[in-house]
Assembly symmetry: C2
């Protein structure tokens, strides 16, 4: 790009009118009390020679409205909000602005979390958190009022019609209503009744702006459900057939409690599906007739090894398709948002281009915290064609550029380049040392020795760990070595480079932890001993040696956010089940509770005489109860792991009714769905990653060239012109960032400075590359139809203006 | 194709010489005692007018040799035998022929199976199969001698150099040698010593010709191993770190046996990896401090839910690649075999074409059982170009055409078309009835009612099944309905159409079974009562209603052969482990054996006093032993299912040494590998199938257009000419099939008859379509290099002749 060309022919910086007017501009203008300019489109174009200050003012206002609406479109594109929820008028706009900022989001989140946390203190409460009924009921009412207030804002912003069309919001309203009534009832009666509806509380959390990932997961789970249910039916069907068979074959054996009735038979085979009662379920029959094992082997082969895997295959296949479709619709939604915004930014004079002024105005609304320099650099990064203004094609890459963090490229390679000669040589030496293979392998060796040391040391403590107060000398030696390594690396690479690597961060934090452990040991602070135990984590560093492990661990970190959101989704399911469990099964199991059931031994805590010896039988299963929400969570986790889950089920069943089994079985199936999704997700992510690197033949060393980097060159004249433009024409006040840039340019002595914009690579970037060809097809298809199903509503409103734009062209 | 054009310009049916001569022709000729014609290539071309009977005879012999070698190449291509094992001379040929026929294969298989079955009767024998030492040792020696004989044949066929280069054969030889010595030792000492080497016996089975699928599976398993082991190390590494952590945290608790020593700690966490001891392993710590559950939750989340799934992902990814590479190398190998064969079939006169005579000669060696008619039809099916002779391009499709079953297309649609009018109308009515939706849904309804009936009936027998001698009337009614349905369908569709559908076969056999059950009930034959319980299988018919189930069940049947071979592979692993287990752990567990271990309760069979009541505690785990090979198999299956496997492990360990755990842990890891492969296989097969139908937009109804169909039209003159050709020129004796064809043509009254060749669709066909584009690339790449790595050896031998061919061209 030619230096300073950005400013040549910049048309109508002050007088140009927008092609399209913000949909809430009209009403806003009349509300503003001006009255005269009730339609901005009818404003007479002021001649440059004789500026009418009033018209000028109205024009600026009109542009500002456009910037704001454009920013809202971009936001909607980013958040995947459907355009039919787009604010329609000035009232809606103020409500929209009120409801769309981080303060409001945080309030929303906190209210939802508070509501969920209340179950810690309600009726079957965690002992040390118990609250009186009137306290927690009042708290709940308060939180619910907050939710109601939030809903009112939403109603105001969406308008009544859109509001009742929005399903999620309607469900939320209904739940809110029920919860309100129940809370009042509790407050009046001063005692909790059977409040199973508390299980619906997670809905408030799911509806939060910040829970987007959870919502997406839930949607994905529901989309995978139909094929899942089909195969599940097949599974259950075979189960019933085998249950009838098993009942016919084994019910004659009185020593066999598993098949004594058809119900038992079905339950036994359901549990056998999870393998939790194998081989016990087979044993009574097996001891009578050795060939009866065939029944169980056939059952497990069909159900467990075939149909269960088929289930995974079906879900994986669906998941695959859903992921791609999700990406496609998101991509097209963003594209459509960009098109909407573009239409709002173009002026009558150049209806197919956007200039810096308009772009800057948009960015001030879209990213209020962004500095003027970064806005300018983003504009330059978008500008592929090298022309003065942005075309729609340029603008399409908006979302790829927006997240970049800009930094001037350092002239030198090392942080110590500017230091005096002696210091430079010393640091250069350290730099070469820490970058050498020998140093790295020496450190691996130290870590390995440390690992073996810990293993041997621990193995010699066979009588249990005794916390001697003396700090072992090996501990100090290894810590010293690690400390020196960290210092060398920080000085050699410079703190910025050092901490920009995840692995170094890991090294650093482990070393710091080890140091804290030393202090804990030296000063005899018992509660912090657990830090000492974390020492073996050092050994993880050894996995840097092999490429595959680095890949696996990198994949692990890439997957982490998504995994966390899946975990959160699981916790939401847990919460609902925990509430139901607490309402029905609180305090039903206790030591020696279930002597009539088949699992009595697991609950027994009593002296038992065997032959002539007496031993204490300690069955701990009474600990797996639903007595408060924390215990419930642990119990549900145990049920998720599946092993021995039927002991908990049978224990509870023996104290309540047969129908309790329905709860446990439903829970099993729900967790099975979520777990299958998790497996499918990991499979998909890994295979996708592999295919990606196969397709793009990535460099073997993933350390360099990670993330997305954009480069932009800014010349001195350009910088000064921009500063001038901002100062005089745009009236932007906070220009320190631009001034800093000019100063830096002057000091560097070069005529231009290169800025690097960096951001980490997301799944979306990978998908963009993977589906390159298909994306082109999608775009073509999209531009052919040019109407997204859920956009029709808004497009219809826009169409007169859109056609007007076309007629101008 | 022009009728009868096949016979125009058929060059040199009798006098044409082959371009290339079989590599074992030369030696064979001299062995044959002819002596004069020591090089066929030097034979003077006999002039057509004056046929020299001797030269004619030698020429014919030379062609026959070529046919035979061509057939051998094709066979090698089909079986994926590398060409460096191709017989090189006449001696090798006779050994090759001896070792390559089904009689020999069956002998090979039976010997291997006999050797494996011997373990039923050896030392820890199955009670009713016990044999004296001298009996089973003699049997073993006999079997081993057979194996030695087979190896000798192989040595003769391969030649010494190739023999010792062939790894599998060398391993087999070594194992044979050891087994021989051991068998003799056993016979001399008249008692079995510790014969762990018996675990190597499956090698003889794996080496059998018929075990090709098992060998492929094993190869795939070994190819998937390197990435698997990497992730496994990661898994074990985390395990050790957590074991040290757990030991430090929980060893202070004396009530906690799981973390009392570092070894216990590691074993507990290994078992926890399989979830088999969860939540028990957590309980002692949990009862002391509720927060200790975090340790276990974190451990399980990382190990079980993340790394284990990663393991599957890595194996799945590798599996995917391996499957494709396997397909590629097989395809290219077949192509190369076809090229070799083609070179042997072309004559000097037309060195780029193969005529019917040569093709027929080849087929007589390649498929000796094939009728003359089918050979002719196959030739016609290969002939895409419509020319008289086959080009190499035509010949490339050889393997796709060879498996076809030929049948003349029926003139009419129904089997009853030729019946008299009245009968026709009746059958037509039945045909319309059984094909109607109403009839189908009526039958579904009957099945559903039957299902509910069985369920209700069974549920009312809550006191166990009593085999009343009276046959219940519902049984008879439903059986009658099913019987009528079967009869209607058979008469309406014709037996051939009826039985060609898998679903109908299933219906039929279930109905027959139900009928047999009725007889068993009516005549009070107790041992056959199990047939009665198979009745619920009728319900499976309901799955025909939904398309997805049909797909799933079809996939199931398609997968079945491969699943069976995977199962066999697993059994081979089982066998080895069973032998080792029997050698070390036979008779170590028995009732009340393990009172010192933590799992004593599972082995206890004694009266226990709880408080003031006395109950019989029945621990059945002593049944899970290694006392004979059948018990070992059941025990190993239980270990495969994983649940409660540590009870067996701890029981055995408490009676033997710590090192026994190594056996169980190794077994767990081995089965984990095989099971992961099975899951990966099912995933891959299913996803492949789905992608295939997505790509090819298959018709929704899979009933029609299943399998591969070729069509060939044969005219009357063509048929007669062929008959003539076969009779007079080729000297083929058994021509009844061709004569039948001529008769059928005459009777039909049409001038030509269309023959349909059908075969079922294989995975290879699907792959051909899926990788269409890539296959073209492979072919190009292949023809560029034209040298497969493992062919170089043979090509070098061929090259002089190959260049000779080229020079002639």
């Amino acid at each position: 790009m030619e230096i300073s060309s950005t400013f040549d022919n910049m048309p109508g910086l002050t007088h140009d009118r927008p092609v399209q007017t913000s949909s809430f501009c009209q009403q806003f203008a009349s509300v503003d009390g001006a009255g005269n300019y009730d339609d901005v489109n009818n404003v007479v174009i002021p001649t440059p020679g004789a500026p009418d200050p009033r018209a000028q003012n109205s024009l600026r206002q009109s542009w500002e409205m456009n910037y704001q609406e454009g920013a809202i479109y971009l936001q909607e594109g980013e958040n995947n909000d459907k355009f039919f929820t787009h604010p329609r008028n000035a009232h809606a706009l103020s409500a929209y602005l009120f409801a769309h900022n981080h303060l409001f989001y945080v309030m929303e989140l906190l209210t939802a979390v508070l509501l969920m946390l209340l179950s810690l203190s309600e009726a079957p409460a965690v002992p040390f958190l118990r609250l009186d009924v009137y306290v927690h009921a009042t708290l709940e009412l308060l939180a619910l009022t907050m939710v109601a207030f939030e809903l009112c804002m939403k109603l105001r912003w969406l308008g009544f019609h859109t509001f009742i069309r929005h399903k999620r919001t309607m469900v939320k309203t209904c739940v809110l209503f029920i919860q309100f009534i129940e809370a009042i009832v509790v407050l009046v009666r001063q005692t909790s009744h059977l409040r199973v509806t508390r299980a619906l509380r997670p809905i408030f959390l799911v509806d939060c702006r910040y829970s987007g990932a959870v919502r997406r997961n839930l949607r994905q789970i529901f989309q995978s459900l139909p094929p899942f249910i089909d195969i599940l039916l097949l599974l259950l069907f075979f189960m019933v057939i085998f249950a009838i068979l098993g009942f016919c074959l084994f019910s004659a054996n009185t020593a066999d409690p598993y098949f004594s009735t058809l119900e038992n038979s079905i339950v036994s085979l359901f549990v056998l599906l999870t393998t939790a009662n194998f081989p016990d379920v087979m044993m009574p029959a097996y001891s009578k007739n050795r060939w009866s094992c065939i029944f169980f082997i056939v059952y497990l082969s069909i159900e467990l090894y075939f149909i269960m895997n088929l289930l995974l295959a079906v879900v994986f296949d669906t998941f695959n398709g859903v992921e791609k479709m999700k990406f496609k619709s998101l991509l097209l939604h963003k594209r459509s948002a960009i098109e909407h915004t573009f239409q709002l930014l173009v002026s009558r004079q150049r209806p197919d281009r956007v200039c810096l002024k308009q772009f800057d105005g948009l960015m001030r609304f879209y990213r209020p915290r962004m500095t003027a320099r970064d806005r300018f650099l983003t504009f330059k990064a978008l500008n592929h064609s090298g022309a003065t203004m942005l075309s729609l094609q340029d603008f399409y890459t908006f979302y790829e550029v927006i997240g970049l963090k800009w930094k001037a490229r350092r002239s030198g390679e090392h942080w110590f380049d500017d230091l005096p000669r002696t210091a430079f040589l010393i640091f250069k030496g350290i730099n070469i040392l820490v970058k050498s293979k020998a140093f790295q392998y020496a450190m691996y060796l130290v870590v390995a020795i440390n690992g073996i040391w810990i293993l041997v040391e621990t193995n010699m403590l066979n009588d249990g760990v005794s916390w001697t107060h003396a700090v072992p000398w090996s501990y100090i030696i290894f810590l010293t070595i690690y400390g020196i390594e960290v210092l060398l690396k920080i000085t050699g690479l410079g703190p910025l480079t050092y901490f920009s690597s995840g692995w170094n961060l890991f090294d650093f934090s482990v070393t710091v932890f080890t140091f804290l452990g030393l202090i804990a040991l030296a000063f005899d602070m018992e509660p912090f001993y657990f830090i000492v135990v974390l020492r073996p984590l050092q050994l993880l560093r050894l996995f840097k040696i092999k490429q595959r492990y680095r890949n696996v661990l990198d994949t692990m970190f890439e997957l982490f956010p998504r995994m966390a959101s899946l975990g959160l989704t699981l916790i939401i399911f847990y919460y609902s089940f925990a509430i139901v469990g607490m309402e029905f099964f609180a305090d039903v199991v206790y030591p020696n509770c279930c002597n009539t059931s088949t699992v009595a031994a697991s609950y027994r805590q009593i002296n038992v005489t065997i032959g002539n010896r007496t031993i204490l039988e300690e069955g701990y299963y009474y600990l797996n109860n639903f007595n408060n929400i924390l215990s419930s969570f642990v119990t549900l986790f145990e049920l998720t792991v599946v092993n021995n889950w039927y002991i908990t089920m049978e224990g509870v069943t023996s104290q309540t009714t047969h129908w309790s089994r329905l709860y446990f079985m439903t829970f099993y199936i729900v967790t099975m769905v979520v777990m299958t999704i998790i497996v499918a997700f990991i499979l998909d992510a890994f295979v996708f990653r592999k295919n990606y690197s196969r397709k793009n033949r990535e460099p073997d060393d993933p350390e360099d060239e990670k993330g997305i980097v954009f480069e932009t060159e800014v010349s001195q004249t350009e910088a000064l012109q921009t500063l001038d433009l901002y100062k005089h024409t745009l009236g932007v006040t906070n220009l320190s960032s631009l001034q800093d840039m000019c100063v830096a340019l002057e000091r560097s002595g070069h005529s231009s400075l290169v800025f690097l914009g960096r951001r980490s690579r997301t799944k979306s970037d990978l998908s963009m590359k993977m589906y390159e060809e298909e994306i082109q097809e999608w775009y073509e298809e999209y531009s052919r139809t040019n109407l997204q199903p859920d956009e029709t509503f808004h497009r219809e409103l826009d169409s007169p203006e859109a056609s007007a734009t076309n007629s101008i062209n």
